[in-house]
């Protein structure tokens, strides 16, 4: 099913593993990556060779953790 080619404009398409890399990467980051552990690495989301988002996962996770602490801790 995933190999279905992109449907015409204005209709939903199954994602093409090669052509839709930015969307697939976004989907993988959203669903597959365990945000509950400290991991290292960089993920860059690019379209047509232009970097859109560059995530340093270690920094991102630390930042998220700090935010979570702040939200449940006493006001600073």
């Amino acid at each position: 099913m995933d190999e279905m080619t992109r449907a015409q404009a204005h209709s939903a398409s199954m994602l093409d593993e090669d052509e839709d890399e930015p969307l697939i990467l976004s989907d993988l980051l959203n669903r597959v990556l365990d945000k509950g552990v400290v991991i290292t690495g960089e993920v860059t989301i690019a379209v047509a060779g232009v970097d859109l988002v560059r995530l340093d996962l270690r920094l991102l996770l630390v930042a998220v953790e700090r935010l979570a602490r702040r939200s449940i801790g006493p006001p600073e």
Partner: protein, 234 residues
């Protein structure tokens, strides 16, 4: 040797000999009573998250789903010291695994993503060269772009809400993805029985057909149920 866990299958099933996992490594099984875990042996002690590895992890589980096994997926990001350590962790999580397996039996994860049809072009420096106030002009364009993105995001959210209502009878559970990574504006994942996969795709298609032309709707799946049954092992 450290092992990477892809997921746990409801039966003892060998992966296809040609199946490759992280970094092109072979995938093997660890027997667990009537079930089994699909794993790869990793040479290092640190596993960096890269786009390629995320795809490889997912691809292994999609193979299992395509073969119609029920799969409790492992999220990417944990490495286990060895088979014994992993076995002990799986044993500790037996109850959660059992519950997750019941949830995914005969079901898969489908998701739909809403993104902008085209990536908005960034203003070239040259285009600003003729302006008397290039700084102000740049900020004005930036503000306009942010405003347009906000409108698009609202439209995407509205579309997703409508689509969820239409899909309601086709899924048994829904997860709204919080702040999805760009370029996706809105994403929703659904736990769907196998017989409803085609209907799910058609239903999303029908919503996409009447969506704003500035939005693109895409379907992903069938895949492992990360959003509904992933169990943290270890």
């Amino acid at each position: 040797m450290p092992v990477h866990l892809y997921g746990v299958l409801d039966v003892q099933a060998m992966p296809a000999p040609t199946l490759r996992g992280l970094d092109g490594l072979p995938v093997r099984t660890i027997a667990l009573d009537t079930r089994c875990a699909w794993v790869s042996d990793i040479s290092g002690t640190v596993l960096d998250a890269t786009p390629q590895r995320l795809r490889e992890h997912d691809a292994v589980l999609r193979e299992a789903v395509a073969a119609e096994y029920s799969v409790v997926p492992s999220l990417f990001g944990r490495l286990h010291a060895n088979d014994i350590s992993l076995g002990a962790s799986l044993e500790e999580s037996a109850e959660a695994l059992q519950e997750a397996m019941s949830r995914v039996r005969g079901r898969v994860e489908m998701s739909f993503l809403v993104a902008a049809s085209d990536v908005p072009p960034l203003a070239e420096h040259d285009e600003l060269g003729g302006s008397r106030e290039p700084g102000r002009e740049h900020l004005r364009r930036l503000q306009s772009q942010i405003h347009a993105e906000r409108i698009l995001r609202d439209k995407a959210a509205e579309l997703a809400q409508t689509a969820s209502r239409v899909l309601n009878e086709l899924f048994v559970a829904e997860r709204v993805v919080e702040r999805p990574a760009p370029p996706v504006l809105v994403a929703r994942a659904h736990l769907v029985t196998r017989e409803n996969i085609a209907r799910y795709v058609r239903a999303v298609n029908s919503q996409a057909a009447i969506a704003d032309s500035a939005l693109r709707v895409a379907v992903r799946g069938p895949g492992a149920a990360y959003s509904f049954a992933a169990v943290r092992i270890g």
